[in-house]
């Protein structure tokens, strides 16, 4: 469990990091919290020739409240999100989910940008940012671009990042008033990646009719699985248990693509997705109704 030989750089500015990345391209890997990359290197599954450590670049870790949402720097540690009052107020779905990601040791190192760039379909942040319709700022020596979450996650560990790009920050929009949210997942042990999970947001009008709903699943496909039809189905309806049941049924039978592995069969994952989806919508509805 020792990594293959590699060249190591620790630039102190984003410009230097980007120029190294331009120079080494596909041979290089960015090192953020190292919680996914380093184990892969130790198993020799990943053997990057060049490692560009971005931990020494100042000003990449922040959580700032802005008009309509929060801005989160790429190097923000999971632990910072977990204790941030700004996150609690403006992105409570993310805030309340953080303790479900791994365990404290991993959260003190693992980063917002690292989790998104790694794009593990079982990870929470890709699903949460997709649910909340976040967007990401990708920078390179060629310039910068904003990419919405819905276009960022392209497949298993695959994102819209080009080899010369770094994810610098994300912008997470705030939910409108009378909105509720929920993340439901099933983990074997408290800190494990989920066997299946789902994030839900709903926005109600004054008559408790659903104006907008979003359901995004994790661990049941090659990326965050947005159940668009089930989400649309709920619009314009009161969130009765029948409506919820129908949406969960549709989403779990037709809008996810779970796989088999040693922890769960596709069948069981589908079953869990259905159960969790109902619970998530129920909780989201209650939270929305609880708001003035």
């Amino acid at each position: 469990m020792k990594p293959a030989p590699f060249e190591y750089h620790a630039p102190t500015t984003l410009d230097d990091a980007l120029s190294l990345l331009t120079e080494h391209g596909y041979d290089a890997k960015v090192l953020a919290g190292g919680q996914s990359l380093v184990p892969m290197m130790n198993f020799r599954i990943a053997q990057p020739a060049v490692l560009i450590d971005i931990n020494n670049i100042p000003d990449l870790a922040y959580i700032n409240a802005e008009e309509g949402g929060v801005r989160v720097g790429a190097m923000t540690r999971h632990h910072q999100s977990e204790i941030s009052p700004i996150m609690a107020q403006h992105a409570p779905l993310i805030y309340s989910t953080m303790p479900k990601i791994a365990y404290p040791q991993v959260r003190t190192r693992g980063t917002f940008g690292g989790s998104l760039s790694h794009a593990d379909p079982a990870a929470e942040l890709p699903t949460l940012t997709t649910t909340l319709d976040a967007k990401f700022r990708l920078v390179s020596q060629r310039g910068e671009r904003w990419v919405p979450a819905s276009e960022f996650f392209l497949g298993l560990y695959t994102t819209a990042l080009e080899p010369d790009e770094i994810l610098a920050e994300g912008f997470v929009p705030e939910l409108p008033p009378r909105s509720g949210w929920s993340l439901q997942e099933v983990n074997r042990r408290k800190h494990d990646f989920a066997l299946a999970g789902v994030a839900a947001t709903v926005t109600l009008d004054e008559n408790d009719v659903c104006q907008n709903a979003r359901l995004v699943f994790l661990s049941v496909g090659d990326r965050p699985m947005y159940a668009e039809r089930a989400s649309t189905l709920l619009q314009g309806q009161a969130l009765t248990s029948e409506a919820i049941r129908a949406a969960a049924e549709l989403a779990s039978s037709e809008e996810i693509d779970p796989g088999d592995d040693i922890h769960a069969t596709a069948d069981f994952r589908r079953h869990l997705a259905n159960v969790l989806c109902k619970r998530a919508l129920e909780q989201a509805r209650q939270r929305a109704q609880g708001q003035k």
Binding site: M1, K2, R44, V186, R188, K190, H191, H263, A264, V275
Partner: protein, 787 residues
């Protein structure tokens, strides 16, 4: 001068905090990987990717040429030195018609690999990094062979062969009977037949294995630091292998981060290789197993399939049991039949059963070697009998606690002739016990009555699935052959104690110190224990089979008693008072009623080893004694576990609400340490019930060789455990102790199954396999519902 008055123990049985903890907690304890010697080279193993394959070609030239590499060895390079390790335990000579085919692991594989992870070549380099980089450059060509992955298929006539020189994969076969099962079944009101499957897990000690070997060519002596549970046998075996005198080989088993059985499996390939390399290269060599290697190369346990039939009367009395099972030994069987014999001797549990017949077959498979792992075959036996008792309770309409009560061995039936030959190679006798008392204590502690009558109906009315489980277990412990100890009062007044067993976290520096302090009248912290260093004690076997406290403990007690006698004899002379009038306390001997007439142990120790004058003829210098203890057979501990747990029937996620253990292991040396043993055991047991399963595919490839995917139970999964102690002293040894090291793990899978069936009372299903997981439980519940 009483030696051990059980009613007046001053130190034994007290909740003394551990002497070793300050060192352990401040990082001052030495582990094998802390050994860092000048000029030390590092070894990396090149291991087989395949579970079963012929090696067609092997080319290590690129690895040899890699900068920083000192040497690469293959089986060919090792030549005549590459021969199998010794057989550790032969089958019991007392059982008739036993079949046993001994096949043992080699240092380096030559022609054919028999499990994934077998060592094919070893690279030695200036650093471990370089050694691993170079190992990546080894070119090998395999011819993959059909794989033996399943223990039942292994014994079919057309199965591929793990060992080509045998005509089947049968490693062993053994039948034991008592009474007349056939007659019993004919007179039965009810016969119950079931099949149970138990799958493999791993011990997952926190510290992986490791070896450092240092050769001193000038004195022709070898020092080996080894994470072994059995340092003396390793020393003896290494001396024999390397053609050295035993006095020229020193094996040190320093602090070890957990053993659990697999660390006894002398000799591992690496254990044979690393000392050989140190001599060959005349440089110290270190090899530290990494976690991934541990998943492939460190021995595992638990795979068995049982076909059971039990005969009952209508009122739930057991007339007899027939249990035939297959045991998976993996690619080799160095450890003989210990594990399946333990299973066989636990299949009757703590019940009074007159008629028994059991045949086991041991199968070679293309999987990692199986040797005893905490529980060591006992959990299988207990699983089988306790599942059968639950099934019988349901079929006969008798309460599950009641049916057990009707069959448990009665308190006045001890010593109880069990009659089945176990790992001690003699027909088992249960020395003592009070199973009913343990059951009563547990029912009271968990609040059984109240739960069943009040709480559970309330939960059920709320739609919550909360179940309760209660069941007993036994644990045979403390087998021979022997252990020894030397106790010395040193000139500084402290007590030095040495024993041959190794220590892997059991608290020996404290519990052994308590045994000695009890006799020698000093503070527990003034007793310094040395374990696991062949330079300090020359004789012994090792720490395993829940035997440390019983076998080494009683040797220690005997030596301490002898030293106490010497102290009194000398003090009597010095103080000019008869021995009967002397008292020994706080390191001082005084004459009763004359406090000013006293002498400290320190001064006595100096007097006992004079620099001038003569030691009287017929006496020995010093206040020192060495003693041995070798039990004819071991004492049998027992206990009862109970659990209340909730399950979410939609997700199959569980929450344990209450957990009670009543443990009776005879005289308790230190309740704090005992509770620690119980907690750790329960953690493993829970793993074996619901989390920890090694997943092999049809090619015997391990699919979860990391802690990401092997779901080791951690603190977040552990319930709070209420441990109750009963003390039914063993009449077999002076201290009255029985072992407790494995107890915690033994009944948990059976208890878990019972509890789940009770929780999901409104589903009709039966659990017949372990470990389970939510997915599997979901399937079982659903299958039975639809059928």
């Amino acid at each position: 001068m009483a030696t051990l008055d059980h009613n007046d123990k001053k130190v034994i049985g007290k909740r003394v905090v551990r002497n070793e903890d300050p060192r352990l907690l401040t990082g001052q304890a030495q582990y094998v990987d802390d050994v860092d010697l000048p000029g030390m080279a590092h070894a990396a193993m090149f291991r087989s990717e395949y579970a079963h394959a012929r090696i067609l070609s092997l080319d290590v030239s690129k690895a040899r040429a890699y900068p920083g590499v000192l040497a690469v060895f293959t089986a060919d390079d090792m030549g005549a030195d590459c021969y199998p390790g010794p057989p550790l335990v032969s089958p019991p000579p007392t059982v008739k018609d036993v079949v046993f085919n001994s096949r043992r692991q080699v240092p380096l594989v030559k022609e054919k690999v028999r499990h994934a992870g077998e060592v094919i070549a070893v690279v030695v380099a200036e650093t471990r990094y370089i050694a691993e980089d170079a190992a990546d450059l080894i070119d090998i060509e395999y011819e993959p062979l059909p794989v033996v992955a399943d223990i039942e298929q292994a014994l079919e006539a057309d199965s591929p062969l793990v060992h080509d020189d045998l005509d089947s994969n049968l490693a062993a076969q053994l039948i034991q009977t008592k009474g007349d099962y056939e007659a019993a079944r004919k007179s039965a009101d009810v016969l119950i037949r079931r099949r149970f499957t138990i799958e493999r897990g791993t011990a997952a000690a926190m510290e992986n294995r490791g070896i450092v070997a240092q050769w001193d060519a000038k004195s022709e002596s070898l020092t080996v630091w080894d994470t072994t549970q059995a340092p003396i046998p390793i020393r003896n075996g290494l001396a024999a292998r390397l053609g050295l005198s035993e006095s020229k080989v020193r094996v040190i088993a320093p602090f070890i981060g957990g053993g659990f059985g697999p660390k006894i499996m002398m000799f591992y390939s690496e254990e044979m290789l690393v000392p050989w390399l140190a001599i060959k290269l005349n440089r110290p060599v270190k090899w530290i197993e990494d976690r991934r290697e541990n998943f492939y190369a460190t021995t595992q346990e638990r795979g068995q399939v049982h076909d059971v039939e039990m005969a009952f009367t209508r009122d739930g009395k057991i007339l007899g049991i027939k249990d035939d099972f297959i045991h998976d030994t993996g690619a080799y069987d160095p450890y003989g039949l210990t594990t399946p014999l333990n299973t066989q001797s636990h299949v009757m549990g703590g019940y009074d059963i007159k008629n028994f017949t059991s045949e086991f077959k041991v199968a070679f498979t293309n999987k990692t070697i199986v040797t005893p792992m905490r529980g060591a075959g006992r959990p299988h036996g207990v699983y089988v009998i306790e599942r059968m008792m639950d099934i019988a309770a349901k079929e006969l309409g008798i309460d599950r606690v009641e049916i057990r009560r009707r069959n448990l061995i009665q308190p006045d039936a001890f010593p109880y002739e069990h009659g089945i030959i176990d790992q001690a190679f003699a027909p088992l006798i249960f020395d003592s016990g009070n199973y009913q008392a343990a059951l009563d204590e547990t029912l009271k502690a968990i609040g059984y009555e109240k739960f069943v009558k009040e709480e559970q109906p309330r939960y059920r009315a709320e739609g919550r699935r909360v179940g309760i489980g209660v069941l007993p277990f036994i644990e045979t412990t403390g087998v021979g052959p022997y252990e020894g100890a030397r106790v010395t009062v040193e000139a500084n007044g402290k007590i030095a104690v040495a024993t041959g067993v190794g220590t892997q976290g059991q608290g020996h520096f404290t519990s052994f110190a308590q045994i000695v302090a009890e006799q020698v009248g000093v503070d527990v912290t003034d007793v310094r224990i040395t374990t696991g260093d062949s330079a300090h004690f020359n004789w012994g076997t090792g720490t395993f089979a829940s035997r440390g406290a019983v076998v080494a403990g009683n040797a220690m007690h005997a030596a301490a008693v002898m030293v106490r006698k010497k102290i009194f004899k000398l003090a009597s002379k010095v103080l000019n008072a008869p021995e009967e009038e002397l008292e020994l306390e706080n390191g001082v001997v005084r004459v009763a009623d004359i406090p000013q007439s006293s002498i400290s142990l320190k001064d006595l120790a100096v007097l006992a080893n004079p620099l001038r004058g003569a030691v009287e003829p017929g006496t020995e210098p010093g206040l020192e004694a060495t003693a041995y203890y070798g039990p004819q057979y071991g004492p049998t501990a027992f206990g009862v576990h109970a659990m209340i747990a909730e399950i979410d029937p939609e997700t199959m996620m569980i929450k344990i609400l209450r957990y009670v253990v009543t443990e009776d292991c005879g005289t308790i040396l230190n309740p704090l340490i005992l509770e620690g043993q119980v907690h750790g055991g329960v953690a493993l047991g829970l793993g074996n019930a619901y989390y920890e399963k090694l997943h092999f595919d049809e090619n015997a490839q391990l699919l979860n060789a990391s802690f990401m995917d092997y779901l080791l139970v951690g603190s977040t999964e552990m319930p709070r455990i209420d441990v109750r102690h009963l003390e039914t002293r063993s009449p077999l040894n002076e201290l009255g102790t029985k072992g407790a090291g494995e107890a915690g793990a033994i009944p948990v899978p059976a208890l878990f199954a019972q509890t789940m069936e009770d929780a999901l009372y409104d589903y009709n299903f039966e659990i017949r396999e372990t470990p389970l997981n939510p997915n599997r439980l979901f399937e079982i519940v659903r299958e039975e519902k639809t059928t």
